[in-house]
């Protein structure tokens, strides 16, 4: 999967930015409830970052900030060298138009806990929707790519099935193919397997693992510690809206430093 080219304003030269995602003191509140209290982290191109943490710690909120489904209240957030949702002119930030934000999101694929497939479209229709409607590519070409993507996630024989006719694991794999159809530079996964029956978790993790092997940059919120250990390049433990601990998955899982990390891991392992 090719990385999309950084635009000229990302800086001189055509080399990809050093970081795919860079968060600097990111704050986010809903009304008076402060959910993110200063997140700092970096994700390099090709890196797989696994995010774990107790419920309500702000993991989903942070992912949603990355593709501007939520506006951040403070700090800075860059994706692929671009400030998310804002344009810097001098020392002032200007909000982007909806159209510009939408254009930014095309480089970011997102996979949800509850799949969110379009129920009135077949698996193939779901995968073809964004390239045809957003990029305006010709249907014939998109169809060919969509069929290949469905093959890649092991669903070559399900192209004409509606989501209601697929198992949870199959639906989630269609959802992954749908996100990949936009050829994103970054994939966000928000607990992609927690709505699945245990025997279906493996097939989805397998697809994600293959994606990582192919060099995709990924941020994965999950409770699958095995996946974190095997596939993750880095692991972040969040609690109460801050990053408590980050490092190599093996190090943190086997030898957590912070008492809150120790406590959390002892519960999920």
């Amino acid at each position: 999967m090719a990385l999309s080219k950084p635009s000229p304003e990302a800086g001189a030269g055509a080399e990809p930015p050093e970081f795919m995602v860079r968060a600097e003191n990111v704050h986010k509140s809903f009304g008076r409830l402060e959910v993110l209290k200063g997140i700092d982290l970096e994700v390099r191109p090709g890196e797989v970052m696994v995010v774990v943490g107790p419920s309500g710690s702000g993991k989903s909120t942070f992912l949603r900030c990355i593709n501007h489904l939520e506006k951040i209240n403070g700090g800075r957030l860059w994706v692929n060298g671009h400030l998310v949702g804002y344009r810097q002119k001098g020392d002032r930030l200007h909000e982007m138009r909806d159209r510009e934000v939408a254009a930014q999101r095309r480089d970011i694929g997102m996979v949800f806990q509850r799949f969110n497939l379009f129920p009135h479209m077949t698996a193939l229709g779901n995968v073809m929707e964004a390239p045809v409607q957003v990029k305006g590519l010709p249907r014939a070409q998109v169809r060919k790519q969509a069929v290949q993507l469905l093959e890649r996630v092991g669903l070559a024989d399900k192209t004409d099935s509606y989501p209601s006719q697929l198992s949870g694991g199959q639906q989630q794999r269609v959802a992954i193919a749908r996100a990949l159809a936009m050829e994103p530079a970054l994939m966000l996964f928000d607990e992609p397997t927690s709505a699945l029956d245990p025997e279906l978790v493996g097939e989805v993790l397998e697809v994600m693992k293959q994606l990582a092997v192919d060099g995709m940059t990924m941020i994965v919120v999950t409770h699958e510690i095995g996946f974190a250990r095997e596939v993750g390049d880095s692991l972040v433990f969040m609690d109460g809206g801050v990053v408590v601990e980050k490092g190599r998955p093996r190090d943190i899982i086997d030898n957590p430093q912070h008492p809150r990390t120790q406590d959390f891991l002892s519960k999920v392992l």
Binding site: N67, L69, D98, R99, A102, A103, R105, R106, I108, G109, M110, F112, R114, N116, L117, F118, P119, H120, M121, E129, A130, Q133, V134, Y162, P163, S164, A175, R178, A179, M182
Partner: protein, 307 residues
């Protein structure tokens, strides 16, 4: 623990052919209802005061058929205005811009809050209220200029009165439909980079349709009959055509029966159309069967064949 040995093929059991439960009560009830129905039809058909000869004579009359055409035209145009206007108003109402949603709210407040009969009459007399209508720059050039007398015929007034009122009702139906769609759907589409308009058209509205269509079918059937209010502005729809006849011949009941039978025929056709629309927009979810399909499937099961 017992293990099944997969290598020993098991004999396939013979298919179950049980005697179905007999519902004797149902048969008694059915016979009773059938008897009452036959009796009712027989006595109405033989009652001369219903004026079956008159009904027969006028049923296919040209004036009546013209009235039907007018009723259908009014219904179709008013419902088109209602649906298009309703979708527009619903989308405006859900807009983040408070001015736009305020305008939509005001529209619904006015048009739903006053009797449709009054609205029809007001549109008809608009020529007295606003004889000419020009659009342009004050003291500058005019771009368009209308003379209400030429523009607002009885038919146009009828369409405006019924259609604009219907739009207010439809907007609430459409809004309920839009709100019934899981927000995760818009979210997924947003994350794919789709614009607000595309999300509405490609993702939300097609799913909202499942909720919107049944009450819209209701509205259409209701409109078919509400359209008869245009008789107040002397527009000859089905009901008014019938009234013209019985004002002359004094055969009020038979003529009203002519109209009623025609209204029934038209609503029946609409009901069938609604079923197929619902089935189309329900694709991807459980399929519904027509009463006929269900009946045939039932017969097959009873006769021992697979459905």
């Amino acid at each position: 623990m017992t293990l099944t040995d997969e290598n020993v093929p098991r004999e396939r059991p013979t298919e179950i052919r049980a005697v179905p439960v007999r519902h004797y009560g149902r048969w008694v009830a059915a016979a009773l209802i059938l008897y009452i129905a036959i009796w009712a039809v027989y006595s109405v058909a033989n009652n001369e005061r219903f004026g079956w000869d008159t009904i027969n004579a006028w049923f296919w009359d040209g004036a009546i058929l013209d009235g039907i055409v007018t009723t259908l035209e009014l219904t179709v145009i008013a419902m088109l205005m209602g649906v298009v206007g309703g979708v527009l108003l619903a989308v405006m109402r859900l807009s983040p811009n408070p001015l736009i949603s305020g305008v939509a709210w005001l529209y619904v407040w006015v048009f739903r809050g006053t009797p449709v009969l009054v609205q029809i009459i007001l549109w008809f007399y608009v020529k007295a209220l606003i004889p000419t209508f020009s659009l342009g720059i004050p003291f500058g050039p005019t771009f368009v200029h209308f003379n209400a007398n030429d523009l607002i015929t009885a038919f146009v007034a009828g369409c405006l009165g019924l259609g604009l009122n219907e739009a207010a009702y439809m907007s609430e139906i459409v809004r309920a439909g839009i709100l019934s769609v899981d927000p995760g759907q818009s979210e997924a589409a947003t994350a794919l980079g789709m614009s607000r308009a595309k999300i509405m058209r490609r993702v939300v509205l097609p799913q909202a349709m499942r909720v919107i269509i049944p009450p819209t079918g209701n509205e259409t059937i209701s409109m078919l009959k509400t359209s008869s209010l245009v008789s107040v502005i002397a527009l000859s729809d089905l009901l008014y055509s019938v009234q013209i006849v019985y004002n002359r011949t004094y055969q009020t009941i038979p003529m009203l029966l002519v109209a009623s039978i025609w209204y029934l025929v038209m609503t029946s056709i609409l009901t069938v159309g609604q079923f197929y629309l619902e089935r189309y927009f329900g694709r991807g979810t459980a399929q519904r069967q027509t009463m006929l399909e269900r009946f045939v499937a039932n017969l097959r099961v009873r006769s021992g064949r697979r459905p």
